[in-house]
Each structure stands twice: as C-alpha cells, then as structure tokens.
C-alpha cells in the first residue's frame, strides 16, 4: 500500500470536444488551448491503458476512488466506446468502492445509453443552470441557439427510466447572479433533481467573474445565501452540496468536494491521448496551468508514480492558500481559500485571496448566523458576528 496522498477522483476526458458552446466554459473559452491538439475521442488503446492503470492504483491504496467521465461532452465518445469502457471498468471495480459517474449536458442521452449506464451502474449528473431564460444566458450551442429543450429531453428520459433512482445523481448549475435564486431553486426542485450543486463562474484577479462588480462586492455570496435560506426553509429538501459543505464545516465536519475546507484532494485528469494532468479547472488561470512538467501518460506511467512525485505533492498542496490574508483569516477552516483558479493574478500568481473571498465570507457569515439562530451556537467552530443577523 502506498502512503501519502491517495486518489479521490479520476476524471476521464473521454471526449475533448463539446457539442454545445457555453459562454463560461473553462475548457474551450478559457486561456488554455491544449485541447486543440487532443484527439477528439479517447482511442481504444488509451481506454485499455486507463483501465489497467486504474486497476493497478486500486490495488495500491486503501480507499476507493470515484471515476468520472468528463469532457468536453463525454457522450461524444459514442455508444460503442462507452460500452467498451464502462463494461471493462465495472467488471473490475465494485460499485461500493469505485462509483462511476458521468457529467453531461444531457443533450445526447438516449434510452440505449441509459440502459447501458444502468447495466454498468454508472450514475448521471446533468449540467443545467435553471429554467430556459436562465439557462440561455450561458448554455447555447455553436450557432447561438438554446440548448434547454434538448437538455430537458435528456432529463425526461433519465427521469422516466426504470432505474431512475440509481441513475439520476443530480444537477450541476453555474450561478447566474442576475437570475432570481428562488426561481432557479424551484425549477430544479420541480425537475425532480435528487441533489443540486452550484458553481461560481470562472474568474480571477486579472479578469473579474461575470456579474461581479469588484473584488469587495458579494453578488455570488448573496445569491448562495438566498439558496441556503430556501434550502433551510424547504420541508422536503434535496441535498445541495455547496450548502451542505458550508454547514458541515461550520459544525466542525468535513467537506465533500474541493474548494471548501482544509483537506487536500487527490484529483487526476486523464486526457483523450492518455496524458495525465492536474485538476482541469486550473486551466482557467493560464495556458498550460494544469500540465505537469513531466509528460506523464497512462501508456507509460503508473498513477502511483504521479501521486508520489514532488510535483503532484506541490500541486495537491495548492489547496492551502499562500496568501497571508487567508492565513490570518478566522474563516480559513471553512472556505479553505476557495479553489486555486480563483486566486490567480498575473502579478502574484496564486498568492492572493480568492476573487470570491468576500462572497465566501458573506455566505459563511450568513450560514453561521442562521445556525446560531437555530440553536447551534455551541456546535459552531466560528463565532457568530453580532452585526450579521439572518
């Protein structure tokens, strides 16, 4: 068994293109251009090497890890490629220790694919930002047309499948700060989403995120605070990851996902040509930000070699912020400094607070205040602020 950082999640870029063209996409609309040189789809010999490397890694570490098919749009790999990969993976990995999931825009889902996912116990998370008028702000196709109806068709297929309970993992939505959070929340609830998550839009100190007026403003923090209120007021809530992580961290627990809390995550990305990379969200910072100095590839290098390397350890350590502002902040144990991509500036690298620092503070303060008002003061790891009433 290897000591040190273990693999939490491996993202398999089964396709390095997308059939839609979201305005906020960190892959195709960001500064990174490496995808242009990647094969459009993962080839059979790479798929085979990926499976072998994952089996090898599973034997080397005590904890399981999640396998997430990602892109681009992972369904662009096509039925045959997906069937070959998923059947091979599932024949060698148990559902209990190695969940397999797909993050998709939902537009290419078919009954045949869903039957395959049910057979291979592969869950599906769908990206959708809300009702059509909200979704259309960012999620358009390459001709500028709405993708909402196509996504809804995919969700309807998912929702009506006999194995829906297993298959439908939830929805993932990028925050559109101009949209009413109550409308988005109600829409996703009515959709039957079994769990939700909300993401910040990409941005950094060189390029402010859309809808954020300045570093000190709190548009996104206020938006999430409103979602937290809706969540806590809902008599039949479904889990909301960003709210759950915030609440649990305020109560001394752990986060489930990177970007909150102070625990490192072992995340690797495998590109369509087999190249092994860092967390792909880093590529929103600058061209090549997610590349290791070594050109590691699954066809030549074991994942344990990468995980044990000084370069990986340094990359995993990035979750802990360099900024003295962060290190002195009483909320650091909750926000963890946020995801590294949001800390970037050309002038200071990642040695900045998150561009969402004030949004994190606003939401955390709001959560603390709500939990305090609900009788949980003694369980809180952060003192309620007297000037922040719920």
């Amino acid at each position: 068994m290897d000591a040190g950082i273990q693999l939490d999640t491996v993202l398999l870029k089964t396709a390095s293109r997308c059939n839609i063209d979201c305005s906020y996409c960190y892959v195709y609309r960001g500064p990174d251009t490496a995808w242009r040189k990647q094969p459009k789809r993962m080839r059979p010999e790479v798929l085979a090497a990926v499976c072998d490397r994952l089996v090898e890694q599973a034997d080397r570490q005590r904890a399981g890890f999640a396998i997430v098919l990602h892109g681009g749009e992972p369904l662009l790999l096509g039925f045959d490629g997906l069937a070959s990969m998923l059947r091979k993976l599932r024949s060698r990995f148990s559902l209990e220790r190695h969940p397999i999931g797909i993050q998709t825009n939902g537009t290419l889902l078919t009954r045949e694919l869903l039957d395959l996912f049910a057979e291979t116990r592969t869950s599906v998370s769908v990206s959708i930002d809300g009702p059509r008028e909200v979704n259309d702000i960012g999620r358009l196709d390459h001709r500028g047309a709405s993708t909402h109806a196509a996504t809804m068709r995919g969700i309807d297929l998912l929702d009506s499948h006999d194995e829906r309970e297993f298959l439908f993992a939830g929805t993932l939505s990028v925050i559109q700060p101009a949209a009413d959070p109550a409308i988005v929340y109600r829409f996703l609830k009515d959709l039957g989403s079994p769990s939700m998550d909300f993401l910040f839009q990409d941005g950094n100190h060189d390029r402010l995120p859309p809808g954020k007026a300045r570093f000190e403003s709190t548009e996104y923090g206020q938006w999430l605070s409103r979602v937290l209120d809706l969540y806590l007021a809902d008599p039949s809530p479904v889990p909301i990851r960003v709210c759950d992580d915030t609440i649990k961290l305020c109560l001394g627990g752990e986060s489930q996902k990177e970007g909150r809390g102070n625990k490192p995550y072992g995340i690797l990305v495998i590109e369509t040509d087999g190249e092994i990379r860092k967390n792909d969200t880093l590529r929103a910072s600058f061209d090549g930000a997610d590349r290791f100095g070594n050109p590691w590839n699954v066809t030549t290098t074991s994942l344990s070699t990468v995980l044990a390397s000084p370069e990986f350890i340094a990359y995993a350590g990035m979750h802990s912020p360099e900024s003295q502002v962060c290190r002195a902040c009483e909320l650091l144990a909750i926000c963890g400094g946020g995801m590294p991509l949001y800390r970037w500036s050309t002038e200071r690298g990642y040695d900045n607070p998150s561009v969402y620092c004030h949004d994190h503070k606003a939401m955390i303060r709001h959560a603390v205040s709500r939990l305090d008002a609900m009788g949980l003061r003694d369980a809180l790891v952060v003192r309620p602020s007297p000037d922040h009433a719920p």
Binding site: R62, P99, Q103, P235, P237, D244, K248, E254, M374
Partner: protein, 63 residues
C-alpha cells in the same frame, strides 16, 4: 469497511429545528431535515478510526 464504535461529538447536540429559529425556517415539528442529516454525517466522521469515504459524493464535479 467495518463499522467502528460510535463516539458522538460532545459539541453536536441532538437538535430539532427550534421554534422561532429564523425568519424563513418553519417549525418542522421534527428534527430539521437538513441539519439532522448533516449533524449525523459530522458525528459519523468523528467516529473512532473512521475514514470518511468521500468518493460517493463526487458525482457533481466539474461542469
């Protein structure tokens, strides 16, 4: 994985949503559906020798 001995945190009370707990928090009459679940998760994380398994919560990752 073996089920370890449960050791509840002394800091986490068995709390139901109290009356008057916030302007938009209704009185559910039973344990709060969000908080009771999350507090149970935090208690489980604090069990002796428990290694909280994060991998089953990793679906909604990326976009």
């Amino acid at each position: 994985m073996d089920q370890p001995t449960k050791q509840p945190s002394s800091r986490l009370p068995e709390v139901a949503a109290p009356e008057g707990s916030g302007a938009e928090t209704p009185d559910f009459g039973v344990a709060h559906p969000v908080l009771s679940r999350l507090m149970e998760e935090v208690r489980n994380e604090k069990r002796v020798d428990a290694a909280y398994d994060r991998v089953h919560h990793r679906h909604n990752r990326g976009r």
